[in-house]
Amino acid sequence: GIQVEQSPPDLILQEGANSTLRCNFSDSVNNLQWFHQNPWGQLINLFYIPSGTKQNGRLSATTVATERYSLLYISSSQTTDSGVYFCAGTYNTDKLIFGTGTRLQVFP
């Protein structure tokens, strides 16, 4: 089956720093999405981004489907950005497969 790898697995930042999270797919995927799971476990959809670039405040995402990767940019990080970031996509079926996650800790 399709493999979804995320890097880095762990990231520690000081408040105000910028970061880039990466999602690599072993094959072409559709319906790529980015999620944030906060420390209380709630999963929030950040971007639905099958291709191209989108921005929402301090966050932006870019998907290059032909090269099988997606990037999530976090600028001027805040402590509330802490948590786990997941990417997910579908491949040949409607089953949304999740990546391994990037655990982000932002310290004041």
């Binding site: 476990g41 999963l43 639905y48 997941f86 409607d94 089953k95």
Partner: protein, 114 residues
């Protein structure tokens, strides 16, 4: 409803008992997904529904697990003869349609099997 609703939020049960977890998706969402997340781990796909049909049940860990959806709305995940390894957070999500659009998650049902 305004969001995906799951119940119970917490369930503690004894090994060997059966449990039922409920998911009420966002109104109008035809696709419904169940995932499982063990402590500190990623999301493990269990099953998804398009309407009342489940095209892919490949993620169900064993025949002790079953799920159904009625009226294209509420879904129930049933675990029979629970085992300690079933302890996890069970997450439900819905979207407007399978293979399209954003996925919205509920807050999950935390299951602890003693």
């Amino acid at each position: 409803g305004a969001g995906v609703s799951q119940s119970p939020s917490n369930k503690v049960t004894e090994k060997g008992k059966d449990v039922e977890l409920r998911c009420d998706p966002i109104s109008g969402h035809t696709a419904l997904y169940w995932y499982r997340q063990s402590l500190g781990q990623g999301l493990e796909f269990l099953i998804y529904f398009q309407g009342n049909s489940a095209p892919d049940k490949s993620g169900l860990p064993s025949d002790r697990f079953s799920a159904e959806r009625t009226g294209g709305s509420v879904s129930t995940l049933t675990i029979q003869r629970t085992q300690q390894e079933d302890s996890a957070v069970y997450l439900c999500a819905s979207s407007l349609g399978t293979g399209t659009g954003e996925l919205f998650f509920g807050e999950g049902s935390r299951l602890t099997v003693l």
